[in-house]
Symmetry: D2
Subunit: 337 residues, 4 copies
Amino acid sequence: MSTDRLRVALFGSGRIGQVHARNIAAHPGLDLAVIADPFLEGASRLADATGTTAVQSAEEAFSTPGLDAVVIGSPTNTHVQLIESAVGHGLAVLCEKPIDLDLPTVRACRERIAGSSVPIMLGFNRRFDPAFASVRQRLEAGEIGTLEQLTIISRDPAPAPVGYLTASGGIFRDMTIHDLDMARFFVPDIVEVSAHGSTLFSEEIRELGDYDTAVVTLRGARGELITITNSRHCAFGYDQRLEAFGSDGMLAAGNLTANPVRSYGASGTEQAGPYLPFFLERYQDAYRAELDAFATAIRTGTAPSPGFDDGMAALVLAEAATESAAAGKAVNVEGSW
Amino acid sequence: MSTDRLRVALFGSGRIGQVHARNIAAHPGLDLAVIADPFLEGASRLADATGTTAVQSAEEAFSTPGLDAVVIGSPTNTHVQLIESAVGHGLAVLCEKPIDLDLPTVRACRERIAGSSVPIMLGFNRRFDPAFASVRQRLEAGEIGTLEQLTIISRDPAPAPVGYLTASGGIFRDMTIHDLDMARFFVPDIVEVSAHGSTLFSEEIRELGDYDTAVVTLRGARGELITITNSRHCAFGYDQRLEAFGSDGMLAAGNLTANPVRSYGASGTEQAGPYLPFFLERYQDAYRAELDAFATAIRTGTAPSPGFDDGMAALVLAEAATESAAAGKAVNVEGSW
Amino acid sequence: MSTDRLRVALFGSGRIGQVHARNIAAHPGLDLAVIADPFLEGASRLADATGTTAVQSAEEAFSTPGLDAVVIGSPTNTHVQLIESAVGHGLAVLCEKPIDLDLPTVRACRERIAGSSVPIMLGFNRRFDPAFASVRQRLEAGEIGTLEQLTIISRDPAPAPVGYLTASGGIFRDMTIHDLDMARFFVPDIVEVSAHGSTLFSEEIRELGDYDTAVVTLRGARGELITITNSRHCAFGYDQRLEAFGSDGMLAAGNLTANPVRSYGASGTEQAGPYLPFFLERYQDAYRAELDAFATAIRTGTAPSPGFDDGMAALVLAEAATESAAAGKAVNVEGSW
Amino acid sequence: MSTDRLRVALFGSGRIGQVHARNIAAHPGLDLAVIADPFLEGASRLADATGTTAVQSAEEAFSTPGLDAVVIGSPTNTHVQLIESAVGHGLAVLCEKPIDLDLPTVRACRERIAGSSVPIMLGFNRRFDPAFASVRQRLEAGEIGTLEQLTIISRDPAPAPVGYLTASGGIFRDMTIHDLDMARFFVPDIVEVSAHGSTLFSEEIRELGDYDTAVVTLRGARGELITITNSRHCAFGYDQRLEAFGSDGMLAAGNLTANPVRSYGASGTEQAGPYLPFFLERYQDAYRAELDAFATAIRTGTAPSPGFDDGMAALVLAEAATESAAAGKAVNVEGSW
């Protein structure tokens, strides 16, 4: 490891790659050594904007001198191979979720990297959202007693393009997986999954055999009951809320607006502005904090969190949700990981 | 029917009977003709306070001259007989929920009164809460498009005494039933019930084989997904909220405080006061509006709503929830009423 | 005094008379014995609705047998004479504000009734608003330390008709007087008044030589600074707010909506409904509590608050504000009452 | 001017200098060329952290090659000389408020630089606060009709050290000046100033002959009434609010918390966290936006806003407030600039 800044290779120059590129470039302890993307034009543009160089292949990226870590923001089906290569090169990994859409593939990867001590972090960015992190920290500090119920509401502003949805693995693996990890952030030990899906507004999603609307109920090992409410659209923006209900009180994290202005008129009062439109805006601080946690884990030699197993656990829950919604019954997941 | 005020007999002088007695006495179109309760002392005290007379037996009450209607606020196991007697006397009925804890008993009652045109109203007071009623009316007016999801959170401040709980029929029949009716207020045609119960804090409730914490997911005929979150305790008071999420927006009904004062200090800002402590305070206006709707239905000869069948439907859903929670699978309720 | 209910004569059957009539009729400790109004038709209609009788003259009203008290809701220019007559008859008085628009007339009245022990209460209803009363009580209890600043915002939804405004005595005597009393509710000892008026939107008010917009700054004896912000119109309803800023924190009383529903849509989020439209709705509870305080003061033989001198003090401040706004300088009011 | 990044010299490495240093260093269009401070140790530390060099004297700074602009964050009594030097060197200026505590000195400076076309911007950072800027922009867009009243509440968390206060010029020149500029941001043409000061909690401030608490009322040329409420302490943090009341509605900018978490417990509900503690946190975005506006003004050759004359106008109002508070009368400021 270099004694100075950590040198990072970034895979992927798409929407999420751009977020990571800018954050790495701005981080005082990180150097963006290279950006790799088969779509070289995008990688080059991003490299120009962040003062680094672009390459087309993973091989070229891995051969960049003095690397310490990789950030994987490329398409899902490349994750496993890049993780394994990085581990092979002894490079710390921050990989976007999900590890893969196929659970056996994830398990196989896990076995292949089992002996390695390379730190691997999964990009469940919401754990680093200041609001959600604050709720958890205050819960841990005992402010609301023992957690009994967790209510997660998570709605996207609009469905992704049908091309994306086709390859997404379905709403539970693609969208709910974030909320399943959020559930595990508060209640790591989930024992049962019950899921319900509906298709209420999108003919395209119906044709894919997928749901545009979903509800999931999880049971924790101590009996905690967790509900996740999802929709693929939301007329008032990106709806990302959480309530932790404990024996002594409740902590609720609401949505964010661009500024604290309220308006008053003949048709109503105290109206807040629109919510921050989507994840790039809402989780801007979370992505920065996530990257910083990654850097700190590497520097201090502590295991990064969330880790590979958290990525696998969320996928196990997503699979169980998919199965439960189809079968109309609860799925026991004890010992599934 | 008297040409002037409607003369009402009240059954029961307990907590809910007292609410009805005061509201009937204060209603400009109603006369509180008599209060009946086997516990004559309570009835007499309440009769004194509301300027009427008390009797001990139902027979005496029914023989009060010039009656137009009855309000039944006596224990659950007396409801069916009192309904049938009132119908036999041709008296309009406002009966507290539930009709009975036993569904076959309710069905039998329904058959026996089937030929009658006597108006029967069920005391699902929350339909008359100004906030919930406003959400529904604005939804009906098209303000948020088509309803897709309904989120109901309903927590009592503290468990009822164990004696009450023992005879309550369990959390779904006793507590959730209000929320099940609220669900039907928005989505009358429910097709599937999935329920989960947990016992997290009350040893007494555990010993009864009951749950102190529950989550229910309902599916409407159009695919609407409804979640109900219940707890038998709540450190911050009576938690009664509802969110209607539609294709074009959302309407949310929050809790009520005694006044709009907010406090600011070193430990936090914008703190509202405690929520109204329990149903007597929170639903004070709802009970009045319910009674008024009952009076109006009698005067205008329209069928009161919610009616007997709504009472039965809520019980069907409560039974299905009980079954679902035990079996760990969704229960189909299509055609169950 | 009758041993049973207190018998009350009401003067005036206009808007405010109707509020008092209904509240007296509904109060368990009060009997509405008679309503007097030269406009007999209005009085009769109101008497019918509240189960009492109407008379045309004050003399007839005062000759009603067994009276204990009077409530004066007639036009301002009748107040002094009715107060003096009531005192002459030994009847307790609840009189709407202001005592009179002319300060010498008020002082003369005060001298004439000086020897009497008849309880006199002034109808500054806002002192009984649950929110404002709660702020003051929590302040008195020490929750925010020593009061340093008080911010009162008070805007009417729309100007009164020009006929009313012509006889109103100007914005400070007619509208601000309520806020001046509210200031004295928190800081009884005011030493200095500075006022500013503007005419921004009403040509009619400009022609009357009056202001439609005003700001008043008061200084308390301990140096407390109080600001009052007034407007004769408000696009979003009746704006009635107060903030008490103390050495250890702040208590703020916001506006009231009909229900706690919030709406969310493409154009904004968390929108509350319109505020309660005007004083009849906003101060409905306050009028009831005021009447109850009046009844309690009579029963217990304690001096009612606010009393005659509070009515006079508010008028002194209103006069000072009128003078200050005209002269462009602060007016010292120490020892003016 | 260099064709590439603008090269900036920064004067002052204290609290505000550090803000500017970091923002200049992070701005993609600016280069931090040099930091000057007689206290070289502080300047060197800051230069190290921001990748530039430190010098002790202004002369050294001005001789840095290729400068385009200066940012002046040094003590107030150095501002005029540095502005004039920068103008002499043809360098654009962003100067912290106030230009000087002495109005004749400011006027003399203005005359001396009168012929120059060098862009000068005054550091009234609050104009760039997203909330306040949004209120003004929505007002300008007609959302609330014509502005009639503006309510500014501005309280510091705690008094500055007595050494600072002694040289501050008093509350109106030091603290209120920000609010006076905010008033002018909405109503540039102020015609009258009335001010009231009080010393309620700080013996030190009393000994300085200064106020710890103040209220200022301003009148705009169209009759708009503006109130400013100040305190040198605030138990619940940095209180920075504004309400623009117009003929058709109101826009209100509230305070900011670190995150949108609300807590609920036995002692209260819906409690937000503490407000952002002071200006460095609250106006972090504003400082960035201010710097960006400065850079844009230079690049596009447009006059920066707020400019030198805005700085002078705010000082004129602060002087008038000082005079008004002492004299107990309104001070006319028409034609004072």
